[in-house]
């Protein structure tokens, strides 16, 4: 574990990958990899947060491409925490632009003033006074214009962002309406089909039987197929005659080693041929992928002995 973590740390940080992650453009496996590294490596997590800040800035400045903007709005504008970040970024962009404008206006004023001073030094006092007055009027006037220009640009930027938001929301609502209509149509069609077919019920339980000596070999993979209506996956492990323990414990994890669930104190039941151990898993706990099921015998002194390891894959329809 520590070896793989130090390997992770030595890998260079791919900022494009982080942008894709934040916009939801990565596969589940890639997302998990980014998150695992972010949790293990503080520098990587910092980089992810910095990329997130830049992405938010790019959004409020209207620099994102339409597809990126769409992804951003789906992921960033739905949680209060992130909406606050977006609001803050907008304020920061405005204040930073004002500061920059004020700075450049002041430097322009300074250089113009110095040039005029050099010129005016050669003139007589009356001309010097008149020129000084003219310069003063010019500087005050141009400063006012510059400030008004900055304020106007800020307002335009805010209005433009508001227009984008309203447009995005309208598009979103239209999309939602279309999806709902399509969904309603499809449900009606399904209902009709079921009625025509004699109303055969859709199974809510998917079953998987793991046989001794077959599934224990990693080369042989059983498959658990979950249709959309399945709520529960019933897993039954058939035991060999020697697997004679008072109780069993099942540990289900992904092939990456992430624990999905542990069931302790499972009894052995009489099956058609010999004995079996079974338990139920909520279908929602099983994502598509490869799984390892470790079955252990639980002795009276609470010690555990390996019975076998079973491998299967989950496929969703």
């Amino acid at each position: 574990m520590s070896g793989s973590q130090s390997d992770m740390r030595s890998e260079p940080i791919d900022e494009m990958l982080l942008i894709k992650y934040l916009l939801g453009d990565l596969s589940e496996e890639e997302q998990v990899r980014v998150e695992d590294r972010a949790f293990a490596d503080a520098d990587y997590r910092g980089a992810l947060e910095a990329v997130e800040a830049d992405l938010i800035d790019a959004y409020v400045r209207g620099e994102l491409l339409p597809a990126e903007r769409h992804g951003f709005e789906r992921r960033f504008l739905i949680s209060p925490q992130r909406r606050k970040k977006v609001a803050f970024a907008r304020d920061l962009a405005r204040v930073a632009a004002e500061a920059k404008a004020a700075e450049s206006a002041s430097s322009i004023r300074l250089s113009a003033w110095q040039a005029l001073l050099r010129l005016v030094r050669g003139w007589n006092p009356v001309l010097q006074f008149a020129a000084g007055l003219a310069v003063l009027i010019f500087v005050v006037g141009s400063s006012l214009l510059a400030i008004q220009g900055v304020a106007m640009r800020s307002r335009v930027a805010v209005l433009e962002t508001q227009r984008h938001d309203l447009q995005a929301r309208t598009e979103g609502l239209q999309r939602q309406l279309g999806e709902e209509q399509a969904r309603a149509g499809s449900l009606a069609a399904q209902l009709q089909q079921q009625q025509k077919a004699g109303g055969a019920p859709v199974p809510l339980v998917a079953s998987l039987v793991l046989l001794p000596g077959l599934s224990r070999a990693e080369s042989r993979r059983e498959q658990l197929v979950l249709n959309p209506s399945a709520q529960i996956a019933h897993i039954e492990i058939q035991l060999e005659p020697g697997d004679n323990y008072p109780r069993f414990r099942a540990e289900l994890r992904t092939l990456r080693g992430e624990e999905v669930l542990i069931r302790g104190s499972l009894p052995r039941r009489r099956a058609t041929a010999g004995y079996s151990v079974s338990f139920d898993v909520p279908a929602s706990a099983l994502a598509e992928g490869q799984y390892e099921l470790a079955l252990k015998g639980l002795l009276n002194d609470q010690s555990l002995q390996d019975v076998g390891y079973y491998y299967f894959s989950v496929q969703k329809q």
């Binding site: 998990v32 949680s79 204040v95």
Partner: protein, 195 residues
């Protein structure tokens, strides 16, 4: 999120803390760290209520511990539960047609209705005024300009400060986070006074 009937009891929470560390203070720190990570995870994945989901993941873990499950690494286990919740969330959205979560909400009114967005800018200016001149210049310059201009400015800043780009980036990010917190607190105070 599917509503869990089980709610966290003091006993289950104590069990969770015990499994994190024998010392209560250290255990509490670890718990907060795990919760923070979970909130970030749900936020990164575009969940609308990250805090609620993070608590649900912790509750489920505490429940398992209360039931006598042996969990060797609580943080990893919680992250595993969080990923299961994300799957549940995705499936629920599809199954129940909850596309409303995916529809962007207008972010032009990020704060409570009736609040003035100008207060946010005023508060930000006030908080910027509380920074040292060096830090104020850094944050205003670091986050200023469009894409191309930003790259150029940041290169100039790394040369000016004589630090690597990654160090400067982290310094600017921490300042930004500090500033955001200050501005939010200021807006909140303003709202409280107005009430």
């Amino acid at each position: 999120m599917q509503s869990e009937k089980w709610s966290l009891t003091q006993e289950a929470f104590n069990g969770l803390l015990d499994s994190l560390a024998p010392n209560r203070d250290i255990a509490a720190e670890r718990y907060l760290e795990i919760r923070k990570k979970l909130v970030r995870l749900f936020e990164w994945r575009g969940c609308s209520t990250p805090e609620e989901y993070a608590d649900e993941a912790v509750n489920r873990c505490a429940k398992k511990i209360g039931e006598g499950e042996e969990i060797r690494d609580v943080a990893t286990y919680c992250i595993g539960i969080a990923r299961m919740l994300l799957h549940e969330m995705a499936r629920e959205r599809v199954r129940e047609g909850r596309f409303l979560d995916e529809v962007p909400e207008p972010h032009t009114v990020p704060t409570e209705p009736g609040s003035d967005p100008e207060h946010g800018v005023e508060c930000l200016r006030r908080c910027l005024g509380e920074l040292s001149p060096g830090n104020r210049d850094l944050i205003l310059n670091y986050y200023q300009g469009d894409k191309g201009e930003k790259i150029k400015t940041r290169k100039g800043l790394t040369e000016l400060f004589g630090v690597p780009a990654s160090t400067l980036r982290m310094r600017a990010l921490r300042l930004r986070q500090r500033l955001q917190l200050c501005a939010e607190q200021c807006v909140q105070q303003h709202a409280t006074i107005a009430l």
